[in-house]
């Protein structure tokens, strides 16, 4: 059971096929698997359906796969930061399925936990409910949402041990654990791989059972909205 690979390209070798369904972690540009996205661009795999909260920005993150026309469909909650996405969407080149953010996260978690569907109040009485089963529990309407199982998950963590136990950092955790859980295969990229025994077992955020391949590398970690305050002068 050797999970550590030398490069992102090697870690994806044998896992890719046209028309496949990929779940990706990240929120905005925070905690995105940027090295694996670059490797997907190089692989040329196409007609992808990608479940990811956002679709990167023009020229970075999943936005790179938009420029190369490798994405057929996105399942996302918010795509507002991406002019190329809007262009392809409005011209009918790309399909878009909006999911409320919490519904998307729970669809991934449920899919990974063997739960094919769940009822939620989110979206009742809106366009999101169209075509979905409505069920009343205790006088309140809920809609049925399906769990997601992806062919492949790509996620980013801070640290991994060589068995795939993952530790995330601050809000870069976001969608990465549920995205990792819902993949038949999960490839994780991290900033540092440490030997087993180096991570406190009580502080593992995602157990290695969900992670099949790991790479370490340098991340650009681009900031989307740099907001600061001035230091008060004493």
């Amino acid at each position: 059971m050797k999970k550590v690979y030398a490069t992102a390209d090697a870690a994806l070798d044998g896992l890719l096929h046209d028309g496949m369904f990929i779940a990706a972690g990240g929120f905005g540009l925070c905690g995105i698997p940027e090295l694996l996205i670059d490797a997907l661009v190089r692989s040329g795999v196409k007609d992808l359906t990608i479940a990811s909260n956002n679709c990167g920005v023009d020229g970075f993150g999943l936005g790179k796969l938009l420029e190369t026309r490798q994405i057929r469909k996105m399942i996302s909650s918010y795509v507002g930061e991406n002019a190329e996405f809007m262009r392809q969407y409005l011209s009918g080149e790309i399909e878009l399925e909006f999911n409320p953010q919490g519904t998307l996260a729970e669809r991934m978690r449920a899919g990974g936990a063997g739960i094919p569907g769940f009822y939620t109040r989110t979206g009742v009485g809106t366009v999101i409910a169209e075509g979905k089963e409505v069920k009343t529990f205790d006088g309140q309407d809920y809609i049925l949402e399906r769990g997601i199982v992806a062919d492949l998950s790509i996620v980013k963590a801070w640290k991994a041990d060589d068995t795939g136990n993952l530790v995330f950092r601050k809000t870069a955790r976001n969608f990465n654990p549920p995205a990792a859980m819902c993949g038949r295969v999960c490839v994780a990229e991290v900033e540092e791989i440490v030997p087993r025994g180096s991570l406190d077992p009580d502080h593992i955020h995602l157990p290695g059972i969900y992670v099949h391949r790991i790479i370490a590398g340098q991340h650009e970690k681009r900031i989307e909205q740099r907001t600061t305050r001035k230091k008060e002068t004493a």
Binding site: E106, T227, R229
Partner: protein, 209 residues
């Protein structure tokens, strides 16, 4: 007529918050509410996976791994906790967040909210708004009473695609404060210098006594 400005609306919204509350603030005027909580012990949730959101970082101390739901760089506090998106929306959907304060394009007299989409114009997505309005204990909308064309945003029925149906509890606008009650909206408070006649004239929705 002297309607409230953005800061005064945020200050009024902050009065809704009580000591010990866990609260989610939306983008725009709701973000300003954090500046007006004073000594109250309010914990801010950011739905991308954080409780205990701190202020913007000092220049040079930005951390790309630490952002809020608006993708802005922020800081942590001594009691901050981080978690994944499924856990985050579990606490939202599960009713653990006491209140959400958010902006709106339209609100109806039945508490319907539209704030995510203008067909043919704005198709960015709902983000976490649908989950928040369906899940949190209390939904407080902060917005201008009328749009740039002077038309009421407080309507009998929303014309835009809904974010949630019958979800809004209270509306705070530049003209005053309204509650969603059976049969329509009830005036709770008028902005200083705004008369009831002026508020009624700017409101399309039914106002009940």
């Amino acid at each position: 007529m002297m309607p409230w400005n953005r800061d005064q609306m945020a200050a009024r919204a902050a009065e809704e918050l009580q000591d010990g509350m866990y609260v989610n603030l939306g983008i725009g005027i709701p973000t300003l509410v954090a500046n007006h909580v004073g000594d109250k012990d309010i914990t801010l949730q950011s739905e991308n996976g954080m409780l205990g959101m701190g202020p913007f970082p000092y220049e040079g101390e930005e951390d790309p791994d630490l952002i809020n739901a608006g993708k802005q760089t922020i800081t942590e506090l001594p009691h901050t906790a981080y978690f994944d998106s499924a856990t985050s929306f579990g606490m939202i959907r599960g009713g653990k967040i006491a209140a959400a304060i958010l902006g709106a394009m339209e609100v109806s007299e039945e508490g319907d909210l539209a704030n995510w989409m203008i067909p043919g114009k704005l198709v960015k997505g709902m983000g976490g708004a649908m989950d928040l309005v369906a899940g949190v204990g209390r939904v407080i909308v902060v917005m201008d009473h009328t749009n740039k064309a002077g038309q009421s945003k407080v309507l009998r029925a929303c014309t835009l695609p809904l974010t949630g149906k019958a979800v809004v509890n209270r509306i705070i606008t530049n003209l005053g404060v309204l509650d969603v009650v059976p049969g329509g909206l009830r005036i709770v408070e008028l902005a200083d210098g705004v008369t009831e006649a002026e508020l009624r004239a700017a409101t399309e929705a039914t106002i009940v006594a």
